[in-house]
Amino acid sequence: MSDSPGQQSRYFLRGEVLEIDGDFTFRTIHGFIQYCRKTLPQFSGEHLTIDIEGIRSMDSGGVTAINFIRKDLEKRGIGTTLSGGSSRTRKKLDVFSEAEAGIEEESEELVRKAGYFEKLGKRSAEIFNKYVTSFFKLMSEITYWTFAGLFTKRAYRKGEVSNQAVLMGVNAALIVGMMSFIIGLVLALQSAAQLRSFGANIYIVDLTVIAMMSEMGPLITAIMVAGRSGSSIAAEIATMKVTSETDALKTMGVIPVRFIVVPKMYGGLLTMPFLTILADVLGIMGGMLIAGAYLDIAPVVFLNRMGDVLYLRDIIFGVVKSLVFIYLIVISGSYFGFSASKVDSGVGRVTTSAVVFSIALVIFADSIMGLFFY
């Protein structure tokens, strides 16, 4: 018998039945454990029934006490069964035993010292469940709302798409244009010396135009946009998450993905092809400058040759690539933004991760598409 202010519990071992009555909580279990430690070593049966019918209230302490005694008996080869118990008591037993099982499982594994491959497999499964599944879940949600948003009532503010188009596209035009021009210039410059030695000067046009249109233009643009917009998307969403703004949206009945991410996706999809074409044009102009200066290829000759080597297919391919890239950038920025938590104050962390991951994803997607459209 154990008493504490306002709570009482009773327990008796009668033959092969251990009866527990009353309030079985943290405040009363101490006496129970003492009682069991005193009486159960003398128990000589092969099976013990623990009768919990009389339990009035029970908390996680009570559940742990029962499981603790059961484990102790099982180690001695004595089987145990629980009998009776209200639905409330049974529910507590289920919930807390489940939580305890998880803890036990981990600690037992630690004792066993899992092997290298076991650890690798376990970690991979964890990563898969935690990151890969949630990434694809968010990806499908964003994709769904991007399409569904076209046919349903607007869930974001008026003017938000054009605002995002300016932020992601127009404001990036200068830096993207400059970088592309320099890269076109360097690409042509590095090739010029080699081509001249073979007397293949005119092929500088083929090289610059095809490289810029189908590969370098979309890729440079995507990398610049990932650095600018990918990080800003992640930081914005992470800050909203940490300051409970995303919770506030949910409890106002607003789906955060629709309200925050979809206008960014539309803004990006609208401007990215133009940014990419701008990058292509300026990159080619860089190449044309070098062709004129080092290989005596006049702009007219360059443009004529460009007309021969450039196909519509290359232009379309570049535009399609740019749309895929911006889709991946917005998704990875959003994914890292939504994964931020108050606990690790992770705005800075997720921003960095978003940039690294989106650039990696863009290059990976580029290589896959390169294989398909070769």
Binding site: V95, R157, E245, G253
Partner: protein, 249 residues
């Protein structure tokens, strides 16, 4: 009191996250028209209980009932309908920083109704007037003081006249005078709009000032529910101490 009935019921609420038991035995109810205050020390699980009530954390079917529904198990469209019936005021206000105060307050109306924009602006003005913030309609949250932010958040929470208002630590970061004014405001709004208010706080002065019902949590367990008077003279030493220290005794 005649006609009163439980609008919120929590029965044996349990919350387990990452194999850690956060809440283990939460039981309470809130009657219509009451101001119920959930109190307890830091880490006692107050905000977790609130998140269960709001459906932000999953809870078992029968464990939570807010106006007869458990928001965490509702379908998306049912959840949307549910959220139209509640207002939530978050600890830091949680106003969207890219929107003005007026746009923030009008957001629920914009999302859930087909009202014309000029009408929405009128409603927003009215609600901002109710929280004495009518001059801040075009300001951004970053331009507001702590007390103003809380009032703007309150205006957004009550914009659709919800029958139930949830407040998460409304007094945090406020000086005693501003806090008193905010508490008064919540009491007045509750009277004017006939709301039920559920508030999470650890501020004893707010509890004494406002609460019709006190729910005291300790280590994830609800150990008391009753009136302020009963709480102050509770058998439980920790509750008495909480009130005594909060009142500076």
């Amino acid at each position: 009191m005649e006609g009163k009935h439980s609008i919120i019921e929590v029965k044996d609420l349990i919350s387990v996250m990452n194999n850690t038991v956060i809440l283990s035995d939460i039981n309470f109810h809130v009657e219509q028209g009451e101001i119920a205050v959930i109190i307890g020390g830091s880490g006692s699980g107050k905000t977790t209980v609130l998140k269960h009530l709001l459906g932000l954390y999953h809870s078992m079917d029968q464990a939570v009932s807010v106006m007869g529904e458990n928001p965490s198990v509702l379908e998306e469209h049912e959840q949307k309908a549910f959220y139209k019936k509640i207002g939530v005021m978050y600890q830091e206000g949680a106003l969207l920083k890219s929107l003005t105060v007026g746009e923030n307050v009008g957001l629920p109306l914009e999302q859930h109704t087909n009202l014309p924009p000029d009408f929405i602006t009128e409603v927003v003005r009215l609600k901002l007037q109710m929280v004495q913030l009518e001059n801040a309609i075009d300001k951004f949250p970053s331009q507001l003081s702590g007390g103003m932010l809380k009032r703007a958040a309150l205006a957004r929470a009550i914009v659709m006249d919800p029958p139930v208002l949830f407040c998460d630590e409304p007094g945090s970061g406020l000086d005693p005078v501003t806090l008193y004014a905010l508490d008064e405001l919540i009491i007045n709004l509750k009277e004017q709009l006939g709301m039920t208010v559920v508030m999470v706080t650890h501020d004893v002065s707010s509890v004494l000032h406002m609460a019709d019902r006190v729910i005291f949590l300790e280590k994830g367990v609800s150990i008391f529910q009753g009136t302020v008077k009963d709480a102050k003279y509770s058998d439980h030493a920790n509750i008495r101490e909480f009130f005594a220290r909060g009142m500076g005794e």
